[in-house]
Amino acid sequence: MSILIDSSTKVLVQGLGKTGQFHTDKAIAYGTNMVGAVHPSRAGETFVFEGETDHSGVPGRPDTYRVELPVYATVKEAVAETGATVSVVYVPPAGAADAIMEAAAAGIELVIAITEGIPVADMIVAKRFLQGTDTRLVGPNCPGVITPGECKIGIMPGYIHQRGKIGVVSRSGTLTYEAVYQLTRLGLGQTTAVGIGGDPVNGTNFVDVLQMFEADPETEGVIMIGEIGGSAEEEAAEFVKTMSKPVAGFIAGTTAPPGKRMGHAGAIVSGGSGTAEAKIAAMKAAGIVVAETPSDMGEAMLRALGQS
């Protein structure tokens, strides 16, 4: 088991520009079941992706791939033709919120929005729109979701992941890779790694993902990686108190000055709220093993599991 996505997931890509094409190719090489693309100006065309798979040489897995991806004008049409239930959004910022809403209206169950730089006002409207639907949004401004060995949706490097029993949830991109890499090196594989994104208005939050990991029989422990700004980590800590599984964590931004946005639109300490200190304190109070430095994230997970 895993959460959100697995080898049977049929995936649609929205926005087949340079970035969308690049990561679609990487996803297919990883083994993701990409079934179609939505890109109005190229509707009717077919994109061919081919090359050597990431698991070339592994017994029982194909060495090469060749996928002819049909391009549709609308998500509605793509869903009708392909039966896709998940979409990944690479649409540029100005049209990204609309793309999210289009996917929801077309009945897509899970929308993973990679796009960075979507206006907050657009995301406020998109979240309001999603309220009336059964669609789950992950992101925006996130690396995506990966279930190692089965399905990779997003921009994370596939090879650092390894199948296992740890759930990963994070607001950051490269910092997540750092955590996953440490886990893998310590022999702690992952069930699913979810990047929830660095924007102030996002879809899925820590609590949603923690709930899914708690319910997933294969996941035995969870690591959550947060950063300054907002109160999502504090809310997550409250939820962790009710969890049966061990949780480790890390918060980036202890040294960030107040009032400055640290790269991510949502990473800002304003009016004394959203500080790393407050988040770390809340997490420790909930029994989360908090890594002191980002170099110790894997070790913290081992400690939480009682293996160190």
Partner: protein, 407 residues
Amino acid sequence: MKIHEYQAKELLAARGIAVPLGRPATSVDEAVAAVRPLVEQSGNPVVVVKAQIHAGGRGKGRFKENEEVRGVNVVTAGISGGIEAAEAEVRRLATEMLGNTLVTLQTGPEGKTVNRLYVEQGIDIARELYLAVLLDRARSRNIVMASTEGGMEIEKVAEETPEKILRKEIDPAFGLLGFQAHELAVDLGLTGDAAASFAKFVRALAEAAMELDTDLIEINPLVVTGDGKVMALDAKMAIDDNALFRHPDIAAMRDETEEDPSEVRAKNAGLNYIKLDGTIGCLVNGAGLAMATMDTIKHVGGEPANFLDVGGGATADQVATGFEIITSDPNVKGIFVNIFGGIMRCDVIATGIVEAVKRVGLQVPLVVRLEGTNVDEGRRILAESGLDVVPADSLRDGAEKILELTK
């Protein structure tokens, strides 16, 4: 992006939101020339001269060069002496303010140079309130925040008397509804004309927040005038950077003199740089990892000199610009490069670092930690470059090495 008070008021006035009459001035003569039309139009001989800087606390702020002059000065000379007396006093104040350094609680002790003034009509104030529209992240919606404690720092009010802060959520599908505005008016103790005037004001403000893509609009104080009108005496506004593409008029309001020159240069090169006070420069890919790198430097006993995220696809050019910006800070004694090559290959990054170092001619120690795709090739390129690059095995190892080298 922050804009000046006078710019915010222009944007609000264009949406029918009540603000005092005023004129911006970048010279003493312009400030003096503003007095007569203001007095004649408003019928009030009192004018106010306000420094325009991107920092709050101006009312209580004082100038370094002349402690008697404040960031906001009420000129009453016109009451007995007529327009000429008001003009003379404005001339004296503008001379003391323009080009001089204003120190407020928010500028820090070094203060900020005042390049612009705003000359405004005097207002007969009966009550001061607080009003703001800002994002409630937990609810993913904008809220209106209001308080009877106008003119005070809202963080202080929130801490000491949280019950005095009123909130209304704005549903993006409907905007702020009439009854919500009315409830706020009642809870603020407003009646009659003032209540009606307030309700109109707050609904227009909520709409402006959506239309203008603001991160924050803060009206502190919002005043009720002697004749029961509601008006924005001050206005602070920050616009969502991600939405500037659809507001070219607002983007043109950017005042780069208010920003750190290094940060401006970084932004223009597509880099995300924030200057800090320490001695160890860092260059990292990814915002979360960049913050974590700063934290690690601090943890091992050092002080980071900056935050610098070169993004997911940094070029040799960008890395070189990054090095130039970092080393333009005289406090920097060494640089720590921390790259987790995901999609980005380490050999490409390594080549970029070598090119950049050759171009910039680094004079300080450089520690590089590379991890991820093609890492062996990347490390080989660095080792064979002949450059004095100290390799590191992990984030912590790198932080410790650069600390040792800069001691």
